[in-house]
């Protein structure tokens, strides 16, 4: 348990997560959110899952964090909301979080899950070729359903974003132009 790397990554992740909630400047909050996501990738590396860790970095830091930062840059923070400090609510929130987390941790420690996998340091890294084989054989239906869901959501997004009145607008513009030509 006293693994210094684990403790360092944990402090980094939780610390930046708290900063991302508490930062006055929205842009610093977004950056620390990106660092927290990097910390989660560090956890995946510690858990011998480098494949998941790399995708965590590529998707969450490379794409999601960029989108969030992009959005934050385009809005003016003062115009959006004013911060309301409420000491009582803040204290209650912290206390509630501590209670939930400590009870979850106690549950996990007493459930026998913690000792199930034996020594973590000696086990080899998860082989991603095996994961790939399983995905294409046993879990193939799940993969296909996931793919169809994603494709469906992309098509739905396109349908929502589609402007139906483009043809009408062009017609109107043509008519206006004709009208203009007639008058001149």
């Amino acid at each position: 348990m006293a693994d210094p790397v684990f403790i360092a990554v944990a402090v980094l992740t939780v610390g930046t997560a708290i900063i991302s909630l508490e930062a006055r400047e929205l842009i610093y909050g977004a950056i620390s959110l990106a660092i927290a996501m990097l910390g989660i990738a560090g956890f995946f590396l510690l858990l011998d899952a480098p494949f998941v860790a790399m995708f965590q970095i590529a998707v969450y830091v490379g794409a999601v964090a960029v989108l969030i930062i992009f959005t934050v840059m385009l809005v003016r923070t003062q115009a959006l909301f004013t911060t309301k400090e409420d000491k009582k609510r803040k204290g209650a929130g912290i206390a509630l979080m501590l209670i939930i987390m400590s009870s979850l941790g106690a549950l996990l420690l007493t459930s026998g899950l913690s000792g199930q996998f034996g020594d973590f340091n000696s086990s080899p890294a998860v082989n991603f070729t095996e994961i790939g084989e399983l995905m294409l054989t046993y879990y193939a239906p799940a993969l296909i359903i996931l793919g169809l869901t994603l494709a469906g959501s992309v098509i739905a997004a396109l349908a929502l974003a589609r402007r139906e009145n483009i043809a009408e607008e062009e017609q109107e513009e043509d008519e206006e132009q004709r009208h203009h030509e007639r008058t001149t």
């Binding site: 842009i27 830091v61 490379g62 964090a65 960029v66 930062i69 992009f70």
Partner: protein, 427 residues
Amino acid sequence: MASYPQDVRFGGFVGSLIWLIFWILVIVALVGLPLIFIILFYVPLPEIDGKVLTPYLFLTSILYPQSAFPVIETLLASTFFKVAVFPGFTYAALIAAATIFIERKFLAKMQLRVGPLYAGKIEGILQLIADGLKLISKEIIIPSGADKLIFWAAPIAYVATAAAVVALIPAGPGLVVADIDVGLLAVFAILGFFPLIALLFSWASNSKYPFIGGLRALHQLIAFEIPFLISALSVVLLSGTLNLTEVVESQIQSYWFIFFLPISAFVFYISSLAELERIPFDLPEAESEIVAGWLTETSGMIYGLLQLGSYIKTYALAALFVILFLGGWAGPQIFPTEIIPASADAIIPIGTLYDATVANAIFWFTLKTFGVIMLMLLPRGISPRIRIDILLHTGWYKLIVLAFINMFIALALIYGGVLGPGGLLVR
């Protein structure tokens, strides 16, 4: 007309020299010697060749060079050497510096100009050092209203990220800083940081042209990241691994992948040009449209760092192209098996350090990488900038389709029994 001050005397010069020597002696006595004793007492020193390495060993090695040899040997094998010198940062930075100079001369010759000429007498060979000194001595101007923390941190992060990509690139068999199983994925994961840094820096500059440049960098990422990944994916299909060293080994066992995947190589080349923000894809720093894009507010060494980072990135992507498509360090053995007879009795046994296969690997890898870098420099001399509305169209409608076509060719080669495990062309 400039004139020298009148009170320059030889005595003053000698006096200043003595003053300098006095200060050096004082600093050595007050800082250097205590430092040596602190190291001797408190730091556990490594044991080399049966002897504990102490600072005094360095002093004896001035008189007896052979006593320093085991120390050098251990240093060459250490992780620190790999990270800092070869194949890590210094090697990449040297290649980046050479690239900057070669680019200027090469483009000048292409356009019938002369390029750098005067610095260093011979073809302006010291121009780079002059430019570097100029950048170091210049003032760093921070625009008013800029976000200082991000403005200072972003250039350093840019160079660090470029160096992180270099750490994953093998320059020879076993000559890699981080030999991980998911090397190719890690490269793409780290490359995703660059537009983020560009965007943050452009926002922190508090100026409109940098911000437009940052947004364009993001736009370019969205347009070219997908074909970039897919073109590299067909290499993974053929070699069956994500480890970059094993990718090269699988090419040594069959043939270079560029013969089977020419379209993928083309797509990879085009998308890496876009990733590097080089002409014709230099929209984020288009100097005739938006001043200098996201680099507009940079000055002095901040500009120098960003430039160094982008050229290190050029080296990394060229090296990646070599590894994925041109067989990495594979090449005919041209180095003799030994230069100096390797005997341990010699005063300085340099011959034992020399390894013909490693020298050969480094030579071919560097040569191929320089070739690809020249190919990446070439469009700057001959091509205009791409129009911004064509960018997304090129990336998504053309390059993705091309990459997929070659991926299906690769799949056909594997299922036809030509390549892959036990294939016809696998030796």
